[in-house]
Symmetry: C2
C-alpha cells in the first residue's frame, strides 16, 4: 500500500489516449490518461465514466452540446451516452474512474483501442 503523487505519476508516461491503471477500488479502477487533439466518438454500453481534470482543459463533445471541464472539475458520462473527448490547447491530463471492464474506445474497436491498459 503506497500513496501515489499525481504529478510524479503523469511524468512516467507520454503516450496519448493510452490510460494507465493507477489502482483498483473493488471492481473499479483509477486510471491516468493524457489527451491531445480529438479522440473518437463512442459510448460504453454498461459503464459510467468519471473524468477529473488535473491539467489543461477537456472539452467533452456530446451529440447535442459540449461541456468544457477545467482543472479541479469533473464530469460523469453515464453509460449509453455517446461522447467524444477533446483536449483544448496543447494537452490535458485526466484522472478516470470507471469499472475495470471499461474499454477506452467503448463500442468502437480501432487502432486507438487499448485492450489491456498497463499499470503505472
Amino acid at each position: 500500500m503506497e500513496k501515489i503523487n499525481l504529478t510524479q505519476a503523469f511524468a512516467t508516461f507520454s503516450e496519448y489516449w493510452s490510460p494507465r491503471v493507477a489502482g483498483d477500488i473493488n471492481a473499479s479502477q483509477i486510471k491516468l490518461a493524457k489527451f491531445k487533439g480529438m479522440f473518437d466518438w463512442h459510448h460504453h454500453e454498461h459503464e459510467d465514466e468519471l473524468f477529473l481534470v488535473v491539467s489543461g482543459t477537456l472539452r467533452m463533445h456530446f451529440r447535442d452540446r459540449v461541456i468544457d471541464v477545467a482543472v479541479g472539475e469533473f464530469l460523469i458520462v453515464p453509460h449509453g451516452v455517446e461522447h467524444c473527448p477533446e483536449a483544448l490547447g496543447d494537452e490535458c491530463h485526466v484522472v478516470l474512474l470507471e469499472p475495470n471492464t471499461t474499454l477506452n474506445t467503448g463500442n468502437v474497436i480501432n487502432d486507438r483501442t487499448v485492450q489491456a491498459p498497463s499499470p503505472l
Copy 2:
C-alpha cells in the same frame, strides 16, 4: 449531466466527517468530505476506499505506520485494513471513491456514523 467544480462543491457544506455524495459511477460513488482532527479507528469488511487530497494534508494511521497524503496525492486503503484518518493542521478536504455500500465508520457504529450520506 453537469460538471462539478470541486472548490465550489466543497464551499456548499461545512460539517466535518460527513461525506457528501457528488456522483454515482455504476456501483461506486464519488464523495466529498472535510476532515478535522482525528476520526475513529475502523475497517471496511468488503470495500476498498480511495482518498484523494485536494486541500490540506491527510495523515492516515495504520496499526504499523502512518502515511501522510498531501494535495495531489491519493491512497487506496484495501478492505479489511484497519485505519484512522487524521487531518494535519487545520482541516483537509478529501475526494473519496468507494463502493456505494461504504459506511464512513466501517465496522464501527457511533455518533459519527452517517447511514445515508446526503447528496451535494
